[in-house]
Each structure stands twice: as structure tokens, then as C-alpha cells.
Amino acid sequence: MSQQDTINYDAVLSKFREDPFAYVDINAMHTGHIRFHVREGDKVEGLTGDFRHIKGTLLCELTRERNQKPIHCTTNGEVSFVNKVLDGQFVQAGEKIMTIRHPLKKREIIEQILRDVLVPFAAPEKAKYYFAMDIQNRIEKFGQRSVSVKAGDEVFTMSLMKRDTPVYYTGEAGIIHSVYFKPGQSMELGEPLVGVCPPEKVAVVEKIITRVKAEWE
């Protein structure tokens, strides 16, 4: 059975119509005493600015050994859940402390659906990234969706403290379908840099995009 056959477009789109939100859990990044700065129902802002340099709403602060670590919101939306019993208490690293309900735009819905189809390639470290020279030249010459990559190809240069490190692709071969970063933008560890589309899935990807664009107001 092909990928095309396994996606039930009506069901997927209906799911997003009923609940057009993403639910982003905020977890404690380390142990410490927590103090909340928002309540359920509060509107919150994510990173803003041309280079995502303006921090989002302050959600809470973690204090460990008298060091305060503020946790800022990374996406806009509304606080849908706060684990209130934790306020003023000691929390463990990784513990869920609240959830942000983020309203999805058409582009984000496409990305959410494509997440099941595309092969993501994540940032190996918190750093700035740009395409390797050969890839950049091919993108400029032929367009992003004409550039194919395979395991072992040098795809990015990672720049950290002015040290440039080549990053080699490790996933399934395919074309670079989606690019999730701007050259020189600081990316967090694990954030996807590109979504690669295996050749046999190109048609289904195009169908998803066309369908969502046509049917989503």
C-alpha cells in the first residue's frame, strides 16, 4: 500500500477543523523551586523580532542554588493548563509544569501533516547554521525542491564561536522540501533544520499542500 493510500485526508483535515490548535507542554529543564508568573487563560507571546531575538512572555522562574532561571514562552497562544500545586515547590528536571494552546495557521497545519511524511534533520547543537557551499549553489541554481541529499552529504555548516563545522546528512535520501531556519539564525539543539522528502512521497506531499491550501480558510 502506498503512502498516498494510507493518509485519510478527510479525517486529518476534520481533526484540525475540530481542534485547530497545537498543545505545547512546558517542562522544567532542571531541578529547582518554581514560581509561576502566569495563570490559566492568560494570553502569551512567543519569540519575536526579525531574528527571534525578543524573548516571549515570562512563564515562570526556576531557582536552584540561588540562581534564577527564567522560562520564557516560545510560542504565542493561551495558557491552557498550569500545574498549580507546584507553585513554590521543588520540581524535578523534565516535570511538566504547564501547557500552551497555540492557534495553528494554515502553514503550520501543512507542516504538522507533513511531519508524518517528511524526514526531519535536527540541529546537532545550539548554533547558527547555513547551507554548505555546494548545496547553496545548487539551491540558487535549481531551486530548493530540486536539490537532493543522501546520507554522508555535507549539507550544512554549523557556526559556533566563529568555528565552522561541517554537518553531514544522516537520514533517508530525498529532496530538501522544507527549510525551517534562516542562515545565521540561532537554532536550539534538536530543532529541525530541514524536512527531506523521499522521492516516492513527493506526489503525496504536493497533494497535501494543495488540499489544505484549497480547503482551509
Binding site: 523580532g49 526579525d50 531574528f51 531575538h53 525578543i54 524573548k55 547543537e125 545550539k126 548554533a127 547558527k128 547555513y130 557556526s159 559556533l160 564561536m161 566563529k162 568555528r163 565552522d164 563545522t165 561541517p166 553531514y168 542562515p183 545565521g184 539564525q185 540561532s186
Partner: protein
């Protein structure tokens, strides 16, 4: 070959007779002999060339040749060239490397933890700055590791990771271009570059300067390695870096490639122990911490 570049033996003698007593006098709170031993791989092999297209490319070629013979290029191998015919800086920028300058690359295994390895470009900056200062030129570091004198660029440094495709070994190539006795620059660099001889009106012995640079690299890489091995606070190194860096308090234009695509103007308010640059964004009135990119100083 016009320049009598150092050998591993002459470097060992120089460190014993010059660098060790100097550091013992300056760094009494630190285990000086141990730190110099930690940096002992620097100059384990020294290759000197009359001319090369680029030192970085030659270093990659040496790694490849060793790998083909089932060997590894020794960590700490240093390559010197009297002139370079195809030199360039980051983003393919023009770099002029005629006779009279110090053009070299240090090739080291990436043996450090992540928290320490990210400071290697800063270590090179401190070593070059110390070398220039010890020879009477008032150099300063502009974050990350540009060496300048009175606002003019005296040295350009490159840091690149190189993974050998044959052996899988990961090296860090630390390229150094220091304008020493070269007086003349192409027109596009006339207003932005300078040399040690232009700053002092005197000439410098390149062989001695090379020896001094190797000794300073030995100390600073040794210090970073010692901090890593002993799990000591990075502030011990960063305090030394901050004492040479004149970026804090400056108004700057910042960008990943600031010449081609400047991003914003800011005031530099600090440098963190992980090397991060703390900036106050002037237009948006927010604090930003950058761990990559570059900047130009704006007029006061």
C-alpha cells in the same frame, strides 16, 4: 627558504628557557609546569613551506595523506608558509598574505569536552594577542577573535572542524594570519588593515615571533586542557580573555556576516564564561546573548 622557522626541539628549549620563567612570574596561582605539559602537543611536528595556496588546505591534505597510510597526523602539527597565493578569510573574503607575514595553521585533535572546545577560537585569539603585545604592539581582541590595533585589523583567525572522510578522525584547524613585516595592502584593505611594522616602524624577526606564538599557543591550549581535565571553572581562562578584549562598552553593528548582511545595532554589555557575547539591542531595548556571528565597532 628565507625564514628559519622553529623546530619541535627549538620550541622545547624556548619554552623551558623563556616561557616557563615568564609564566611562573605571571601566573603564580596556577600549576605552570603542568599547564605547559598539557599544551605540549603544540608544535609536535612543524612543517615549513616557502609558498602555499592556503595553509588550511595543506593541513587537510596532510591529514588525508596520513590517513591513506593508516596513520594519523599528530595532534599539534603546525604548518608555516612564507607566503600564500590563494588565501581568504571567512565568507570568501579577501586576505592578502605576501612575504613578511606569519601565515600558519595549527592542527589539533578535537579532544575537549563541548563546553571547552567552543572556546578554541578564543584561545587562539589570546595567544596571538599575547604574542603581539610581548613584541611591543598595543593589540586588542574584538570578540570573537579579531586582533586589531587602533581599530585596524592586525590578524585574522579561522577555526574550522575537519572530519577526515577516510579515518573519521575529527581535527580542529586553527588558522592564523598575522601581518608582521608586510607594509603594503591591496586597495580594498588599505583603510582596514595594518601590520606590526606599520604600527612601530621597526622590523621583526619572523622566526623568533613564530617561536613566541607557538609558546603562547602551548600555554593557552594547555590552560584550556587543564581546565577541562580538572573540571575547573572556565572563568580562569575567560578572565584572561576579557583582559585583552575591548568589546565591552562598545556600540556595534552585529550580523552573522556583518559586511554583507548586518542585522542590528547594539551595545556590548558583557562576555560570559562560555564565550557568549551579551548585547543590548538598541532599537528593541532587549538583551541578547550571541554565540556566533561578528560585529563592527561603531564610532563613539
Amino acid at each position: 627558504m628565507g625564514v628559519d622557522f622553529p623546530t619541535p626541539k627549538s620550541l622545547a628549549t624556548y619554552i623551558q628557557e623563556e616561557e616557563l620563567p615568564r609564566r611562573l612570574a605571571l601566573e603564580s596561582a596556577l600549576p605552570v609546569s603542568d599547564i605547559l605539559r598539557y599544551g605540549g602537543m603544540v608544535g609536535s611536528e612543524i612543517h615549513a613551506y616557502t609558498s602555499l595556496p592556503r595553509c588550511m588546505d595543506q593541513a587537510r591534505e596532510l591529514i588525508k595523506q596520513h590517513s591513506k597510510q593508516q596513520q594519523s597526523l599528530p595532534s599539534g602539527t603546525m604548518l608555516f608558509a612564507e607566503s600564500l597565493s590563494g588565501s581568504k578569510g571567512r565568507f570568501q573574503r579577501v586576505w592578502h598574505a605576501p612575504d613578511g607575514g606569519l601565515w600558519c595553521v595549527l592542527t589539533v585533535f578535537n579532544q575537549w569536552s563541548k563546553r571547552v572546545a567552543s572556546l578554541l577560537p578564543l584561545v587562539t585569539g589570546v595567544a596571538v594577542c599575547e604574542t603581539v603585545l610581548a613584541n611591543g604592539v598595543a593589540a586588542r581582541i574584538k570578540w570573537v577573535n579579531d586582533i586589531h590595533c587602533a581599530g585596524l585589523k592586525l590578524a585574522g583567525l579561522l577555526a574550522e572542524t575537519h572530519v577526515c572522510r577516510l579515518s573519521g578522525e575529527e581535527y580542529v584547524l586553527l588558522g592564523i594570519g598575522l601581518n608582521v613585516n608586510n607594509r603594503h595592502f591591496p586597495s580594498e584593505l588599505q583603510k582596514t588593515a595594518t601590520s606590526m611594522t606599520r604600527q612601530t616602524d621597526s622590523g621583526f624577526d619572523l622566526a623568533t615571533l613564530a617561536l613566541d606564538l607557538l609558546a603562547k599557543l602551548t600555554w593557552n591550549i594547555g590552560l584550556l586542557t587543564w581546565l577541562d581535565e580538572q573540571d575547573k571553572p572556565l572563568a580562569i581562562f575567560m578572565d584572561r580573555y576579557r583582559s585583552h578584549c575591548d568589546s565591552v562598552g562598545r556600540r556595534v553593528r552585529f550580523g552573522f556576516d556583518v559586511q554583507e548582511a548586518p542585522q542590528y545595532e547594539a551595545l556590548v554589555t558583557g562576555i560570559l564564561d562560555d564565550g557568549g557575547l551579551v548585547l543590548h539591542h538598541l532599537q528593541d531595548d532587549v538583551e541578547i546573548v550571541e554565540h556566533g556571528g561578528e560585529m563592527e565597532y561603531l564610532p563613539v
